[in-house]
Symmetry: C2
Subunit: 253 residues, 2 copies
Amino acid sequence: MPRDTVTAAVLLIGDELLSGRTKDANLGHIADRLTAVGIEVREARLVPDVEDEIVAALNALRARYDYVFTTGGIGPTHDDITADAVARALGVGISVNDEAVAVMRARYETLELNEARLRMARIPHGATLIDNPVSAAPGFHIANVFVMAGVPRIMQAMLESIIPVLDHGRPVLSRSVRVDTGEGNLAAPLKAIQARYDTVSLGSYPFQESGRFGSNIVLRSKDEVALEQAEAEVRAMAADLVAMDLPAPKAWT
Amino acid sequence: MPRDTVTAAVLLIGDELLSGRTKDANLGHIADRLTAVGIEVREARLVPDVEDEIVAALNALRARYDYVFTTGGIGPTHDDITADAVARALGVGISVNDEAVAVMRARYETLELNEARLRMARIPHGATLIDNPVSAAPGFHIANVFVMAGVPRIMQAMLESIIPVLDHGRPVLSRSVRVDTGEGNLAAPLKAIQARYDTVSLGSYPFQESGRFGSNIVLRSKDEVALEQAEAEVRAMAADLVAMDLPAPKAWT
């Protein structure tokens, strides 16, 4: 029987994400995939390639959530320091891992397994490798920490190999209802609906389309019956508001 | 004379960013703009619409960095709780702000300024409004915290009105050099260059293009002379590596 709630945090590592040079594309994907399998992402942090920062963030997150997923910093260059930071955070040693070397030797074939490439085989003691079907460098997991590559295509492949071994909670179900009026008009009736459903979370996400304003109401719950009842109420609210033909807002709200 | 270093953190607020429903588009933009004006984004966090989480993250970040920029949670619906969380974090009261009401009354014209819309005028005591040229709800800043909308177009407009009033540090200059070989080949000479320049940060960002692997080396520094010297060394390294005609890697590294 699955646990009711399984939580996770995401730790994105890399100077390039904070300088703006690279726009992160990993968090959204990880959030989508984990949400779909019943793991709730509760927090995310972005830190630079600075060991003290990685260690501090990792220790804060791994103490608090069931799982922590990191991206970035596992390549062969001097700025790839994630494995060392993870080892330090967990208080374990780190050295070249025979299994990782064997995987890389098979993949590289004629290439020299030089010091830089061997650096990618440095894995914290006690960790299990995560298969990398795209590239050579393995990811790894140790305790509740999963260390993945930063290149999206590689990260995505690693995540798919991780998901089957994770505990999954009951998935959060969601529904979306479009309401064609400004948030300022729907806020009061929406709040009244929220007050009647303590197991359903209602969020309002405004949009603009062809000069008209509206909002998508997103309902989220693990209780399908309550979710459907709340959805019916939101749909009735939307119809009532449109029938009232309120003055069209000139702004978002 | 500008300060040498001005630091910032970004706090992105919203359940929808952690469920994957909305892919954040704000951090990359904020990072680009602040980097361009000499403000270094050192950390970012994403938290859900939960007051305790917003308060804890805000207090951690505002104590540590010169500025904190938040996005999201300033609309009229019940899930918009950023203003209350900021007031609690800073230990100040919050109530309907006359100036914000006047701004909204001018904008809404014929619309009713109902309780929900007035909710957007609730501003922590001691805060200064941030103009919102797109929509009605103002942002605000109090102490070193700048509270902005979550809708990208509105956030961007607010940010532009904030930037002129900020302290700016000396900008970090950057250069990028493309190297057409795998990271495993360039790691050792790149590390040697890094060891000679303690004021220049060298990052390696691998790419794949038409089946061939390479890496963009990004050099960042406030010292233009050192930056140019290091760039010349990286360019020489790139030429040497290509001339060596090393076996083409079959993988990223």
